[in-house]
């Protein structure tokens, strides 16, 4: 069971409030596909992913990026119960989608970098540390129903 201090709770809530999921989500997923090209294996039905420009302009990448980041809202709202919150989603990724869970970490890393790129110096080392603790818990939850 993860414990959160009051300042961690407010750091996560404050940052999340400032994030436009419809902007940050597509950028994060696009960067995963560009920086770690093997992740494209899961998106065979997305059409053209053959270049940076194609990925950035692919409407399915944009749409799915929004879906993923909207799902992160559930963790922000259920900080004390993240594992249970993502139980079904984890099972889906394991049994139906067969996604290697290490890719969740790659998404989390790209999301952090996109946020740093957006907020600059306001994304302080202390906020980064709390944010990545939060994402580590989410990644563990998403990996929890694997086999």
């Amino acid at each position: 069971m993860v414990s959160w201090s009051q300042s961690e709770r407010s750091a996560i809530a404050d940052l999340w409030d400032k994030i436009n999921v419809d902007e940050i989500g597509p950028q994060s997923l696009a960067r995963v596909l560009i920086v770690y090209p093997w992740t494209q294996r899961y998106f065979g039905k997305f059409g053209n992913l053959n270049s940076v420009a194609a990925i950035l302009g692919n409407p399915k990448v944009t749409a799915h990026g929004k879906v993923v980041l909207n799902a992160l809202d559930n963790a922000v709202k259920n900080l004390d119960n993240i594992k249970e919150t993502y139980s079904k989603l984890s099972q889906l990724h394991c049994e139906i989608l067969s996604v290697d869970p290490d890719n969740f970490r790659l998404f989390a890393d790209c999301l952090t970098i996109v946020i740093a790129n957006k907020f600059g110096a306001a994304f302080t080392p202390e906020i980064q540390a709390t944010w990545q603790k939060f994402l580590a818990v989410v990644v563990a939850a998403m990996s929890s129903r694997y086999f």
Binding site: V35, V52, I113, A116, P125, E126, Q128, A129
Partner: protein
Amino acid sequence: MLSALEKQILIDLWHKLIPVAEDIGSEALYRMFTTFPKTKTYFGHLDLSHGSGHLRSLGKKIVVAIAEGTTHISTPLFTSSLGYLSRYHAYQLRIHPTNFKLFNHCMLVTLACHLGGDFSAIEHAATDKYLSAYSAVLAEKFR
């Protein structure tokens, strides 16, 4: 493998950072110590507070070394030019190589904060590949 275009992007990007090497390097280190506190175990003899003289001097060395390395990307000189650093990390510092990944991530976050629009997906991808190639060389003498 890095393309000729990526190589040029990296040379330009990292040489632009040399004048601010102390700021960038010390911030990347401080972000690593804050986000991954276990990494502090290797630096017990240093003052790890934000912007300390130790962090600024070590940070500068790291950024300058990474910038100089860009010149040799995708040439046989790349590995040999890092021979000293590779031996130093393997035989003297003996840092668990998983920490290189943590540092690389914090360097990417630092660059994303400082470079704004100049750190697009293309620069991000090229830097990620380059830093992972660089740390592979630092770790290659371990075994």
